[in-house]
């Protein structure tokens, strides 16, 4: 049996999820007495290949084709390597780019796909764990197939460590250019650059619970009193209430302030990915079961419209 994981890189950097996938691959390979291969497609494949040669990796395949991610190329390259290696388990990242090629690869290889996997068990066949209803419930899924494809949630497994000495071999692909029907023309940073929430020591961060745009005044008033900066979760940015450069989360900024005060934020996984590195996390939310309390150091389960004015009062603003 073979496990194959697919690395991810962007603008010259291997993304951390690549090394996390190696941990998953290593664990499953150990459990099932399998070989563990990994592949990187495009970019500086030699340098990436060296970095992917971590503990538990039996072979690193490099596909020297293109610079940046292109899903048409990835689908062909990963499918061709999968045909050659015949992995019983194909592991891809549950990232924006992962979700842009993994379903097509699974479809082409005619393998079942389970996305956003947070746990894997191989004791009696393949069983995976996912979250439902915005992380309110978890479910297990049995995969009754000889070969399967999974996308794995970033941040759930540690990065693989160590230096190994596995073979790093180029894999020659035969890319059908006529089937490459998308062209990446560039990248763009978002936001006006007026505020740098990544630089703030204290963030007052607001979410959907704030209700109305006018109520944002409350957050700015608290931020003034605390000498803090206002940031927000995705829905407020989508509503156009705040500039995009104030967005914390997977698609926004990753922040690591000393203190992060989450007001009316439920703590969806995409948001948590952007702020879990804060030293002290404070959550104010009416729902005691909101996932934000799982990572908070301090919490108040109450109406933010009662708590925030009281806090402003405390700090004498």
């Amino acid at each position: 049996m073979t496990i194959l994981s697919v690395a991810e890189h962007r603008r010259g950097e291997l993304r951390p999820v690549s090394l996390e996938l190696l941990s998953v691959g290593h664990l499953v390979a150990d459990e099932t007495d399998s070989e563990h291969h990994t592949v990187v497609v495009g970019g500086d494949v030699e340098a990436f290949g060296e970095k992917l040669d971590r503990e538990g990796v039996d072979a690193v395949h490099t596909v020297d084709y293109g610079e940046e991610f292109n899903h048409d190329v990835y689908v062909q390259a990963v499918s061709q390597l999968a045909d050659a290696v015949d992995p019983s388990l194909l592991l891809m990242p549950n990232t924006v780019n992962g979700l842009d090629y993994a379903p097509a690869v699974a479809g082409r290889l005619d393998r079942p796909l389970v996305t956003d996997v947070v746990d894997i068990d191989y004791e009696e066949g393949l069983t995976v764990t996912r979250e439902l209803y915005g992380s309110k419930a978890e479910t297990t899924i049995d995969v009754n197939a000889e070969a399967a494809a999974l996308t794995v949630r970033p941040g759930e497994w540690p990065a693989a460590e160590g230096v190994n000495g596995a073979s790093v071999e180029p894999f020659a692909v035969d890319i059908d250019e006529s089937a490459v029907r998308s062209t990446v023309t560039g990248f763009e940073e978002v936001g006006s650059g007026d505020v740098d929430i990544g630089d703030a020591d204290v963030l007052v961060s607001v979410g959907r619970g704030i209700g109305e745009e006018e109520n944002l005044d409350l957050a700015f008033e608290l931020a003034d009193a605390l000498d803090a900066t206002v940031s927000a979760s995705r829905p407020l940015i989508d509503n156009g209430w705040l500039e995009k450069d104030r967005q914390v989360g997977q698609s926004g900024k990753v922040v690591t302030p000393d203190v992060y005060i989450a007001i009316g934020i439920s703590g969806a996984v995409q948001h948590v990915a952007g702020m879990k590195g804060a030293d002290t996390i404070v959550a104010i939310n009416t729902d005691p079961n909101a996932p934000i309390f799982d990572i908070a150091d301090y919490g108040i389960v109450d109406d933010l419209f009662d708590v925030v004015p009281a806090l402003i009062e405390e700090f004498g603003s």
Binding site: D100, G107, T115, D142, V143, G240
Partner: protein, 264 residues
Amino acid sequence: MKILVTVKQVAVVDDEFEIDGLGIDDRYITHDLNEWDEYAVEEAVQLQEAADEDVEVVTVTIGPEDTEETIRQALAKGADRAVRVWDDTLAEAGLLDPTTKARVVEAVASEEDPDLVLTGVQSADDGFGATGVTLAERLGFEWAAVVNDLELDREAGVASVHRELEGSIEELTDVQLPAVLTIQTGINEPRYASLRGIRQAQTKELDVRSLEDVGLSPADIESPLEQTSLYEPTSESDATVFEGSAEEAAAELAEVLRDAGVAN
């Protein structure tokens, strides 16, 4: 031009709920149009309004009769007509995973022959995030996932999109048509349905089809994936929660914040 938009009714679960077998007890669930699909519908209607050609916007839904209220929401916002696929076989099927859903939508898309398919990036309840790209692969369409900006050049047959990557970076990509695009929230401002729209929605065509009607057999929706349990995740919280009135709790929090060096 024809735009096909996938519309799903999703389960919204109360803060407090009970699990009943492999689902959540109905008492704790309300239903709504999937947020991502709402943006997809809006994008389709905006393309229709901006086009200098006739554009038909057709929605497709896999779901029982009680999803019609949600489908009418999409019709009220400007979609022209709707197709809903459901029958006993689908009702009795276990997990409707992305491949199963894509097979059904593919069958409808093959009949409708759209130039563009828009889906939400994911659905709020099961969050697979994979049906759109699976569908594209099955249809032989090009695709782009997680699109938050779209410019259509019909003459060149190209959709120029922004894909929202992690970390405040967008990828600019040109995609050949026909294509499936999965639409991210924030791409537009979904409109509220007008009273006139709501009235008109009642008279718009809502075509109900069975699996057999769309040319599929029960074997086509058999899935190797089987849901085996549903449970509430155990809380890993070790947070100190301040009790008492809002003022009391705020006072205790203020003390902690001052100790942490805030506003000193």
